[in-house]
């Protein structure tokens, strides 16, 4: 029958094409494998984005290099001034880490709201960054934290601000021989408040439509320092420096915040262009910013911080 022969290719198309799979035991071995594959290999961590991409035929690597067995990529470590998170640390591990809660709660909050428990147990922070989705949930917090990515290849190691790792939607500045091994950021001091809000079609399992991450330091009623980064509404992750500049030195009263919220939506339109969704998105991003500011001013996200 005709319909059954039509069904056959459909079943085939959802199968993942074949590849070789290696699980190196050292970072050096991983770099060597990647170098020798001459661009035909892909790094796999949690696989929550990559496996879907393989299934869709977005990429067709001949080799997958699994980095989740590399212990140095699975650690959350602190020094006196910084906190570093290995690229293969999962969202669940970040969300439940007392260190991240204490020194970068804006990141814990974002990690705890990703996908579902199942996705958070697989997906990693490194994968979330290098997948380069404009809606990547960990990017706005990493931007406001001024996080630096550590990138290595067989012959070289370099540090790149996370903001510069993502060049465009689903496009990174990594060379084919390079691996993102982790991110680090300065530990937040106790007087810095944060706010993170994410909007999606529903709370769980939906891609973020819009999010705002911010850090705020208020001294004697005046905004001393502020960092703001929106998610999912800009082609690449970046802070809103013009809004930050406007707010610095001002007291966060209603009028100032209202003007600032306008500047947030103007920045969105300036950088992303006027899309058909702009008339809807502008007031929403303004409200989201105001809510995130309120959270930060009231220290809501910090309750429970030890």
């Amino acid at each position: 029958m005709k319909w059954s022969s039509n069904l056959q290719p459909q079943t085939e198309s959802i199968m993942i094409p074949s590849f070789d799979y290696k699980t190196p035991k050292t970072l050096q071995e991983a770099c060597d494998l990647l170098q020798e594959a001459h661009g035909k290999a892909k790094i796999i961590a949690g696989g929550t984005d990559l496996v879907i991409g393989l299934r869709n035929g977005d990429s067709n690597p001949s080799l997958l290099i699994d980095i989740t067995s590399l212990k140095e990529l699975r650690r959350i470590e602190e020094t006196d001034e910084t906190l570093s998170v290995g690229a293969a640390v999962t969202h669940s591990e970040i969300a439940s880490s007392p260190l991240v809660r204490q020194y970068g709660i804006v990141l814990s909050k974002a990690a705890s709201e990703i996908g579902s428990p199942q996705i958070r147990n697989l997906g990693t922070i490194g994968g979330n960054i290098v997948n380069g989705s404009p809606a990547a949930d960990t990017l706005p917090p990493l931007i406001v934290l001024d996080a630096i990515g550590k990138v290595i290849s067989r012959d070289r190691e370099r540090n790149v601000p996370v903001a510069q790792l993502v060049k465009g939607p689903y496009e990174t500045s990594l060379k084919p021989s390079e691996i993102l091994v982790g991110v680090s950021f300065k530990k937040l001091s106790q007087d810095i408040r944060s706010g993170f809000i994410r909007l999606a079609r529903r709370e769980a399992m939906a891609i973020a439509r819009m999010s705002i991450a911010l850090l705020l330091q208020v001294q004697e009623g005046k905004i001393q320092n502020i960092r703001i980064a929106p998610g999912a509404i800009l082609p690449t992750p970046q802070g809103l420096s013009d809004v930050e500049e406007f707010l610095k030195g001002k007291s966060p009263d209603e009028e100032v915040l209202r003007i600032a919220s306008r500047k947030v939506s103007e920045a969105m339109i300036r950088r992303s262009g006027i899309r058909p969704s702009a008339p809807y998105k502008a007031p929403v991003v303004e409200a989201l910013f105001l809510r995130a500011m309120r959270r930060a001013l009231e220290g809501q996200d910090e309750t429970g911080r030890s």
Partner: protein, 156 residues
């Protein structure tokens, strides 16, 4: 080309030959005959294929087979049998938490993952634990009640 992987499935050690591009879901269903785990969306959104990997719930459709080498996998077949149902399975039946049944294996596994870690969950914790499992029949209320009832049974 196939690779050999060894892992624990529902407490038993197995050694299987599998092509590295197979997912854990396909390995379970097509090589090991464990068809209790269902394929729904195949892209990690519906939770029908939820299994425990080293005790943590994951979407088996997103886990490539080589990843389970040396690890432990738990599926709905490990919960109970027709003659000896797991308390969760009994509670699901008693509370009418099963209608078409397609989401049930995944729901049960997410429920088990929750109770293993947190024997006295609040309603919010239950909702969070099953937030990655879609059910299009029950409206979730009966499922939440079924999980809550276990907690009460344990507390007596």
């Amino acid at each position: 080309m196939e690779i050999t992987i060894k892992f624990t499935i529902n407490g038993k050690m197995v050694k299987v030959e599998v092509p590295p591009h197979w997912t854990l879901l396909r390995l379970l269903r097509e090589r090991l005959g464990l068809t209790g785990t269902k394929e729904g969306c195949g892209i990690g959104e519906c939770g029908a294929c939820t299994v425990l990997l080293d005790g943590m719930p994951v979407n088996a459709c997103l886990v490539l087979a080589p990843k389970v080498d040396g690890r432990s996998v738990f599926t709905v077949e490990g919960l109970g049998s027709r003659d000896a149902l797991h308390p969760l399975q009994k509670s699901y039946i008693e509370h009418g938490a099963v209608q078409c049944g397609f989401c049930t294996p995944g729901m049960l596994i997410s429920s088990k993952a929750l109770l293993d870690k947190n024997p006295h969950p609040t309603q919010d914790e239950i909702k969070e634990a099953i937030s990655g499992n879609l059910c299009r029949c029950t409206g979730y209320q009966q499922i939440i009640e079924a999980i809550e009832a276990i907690d009460k049974d344990v507390r007596g």
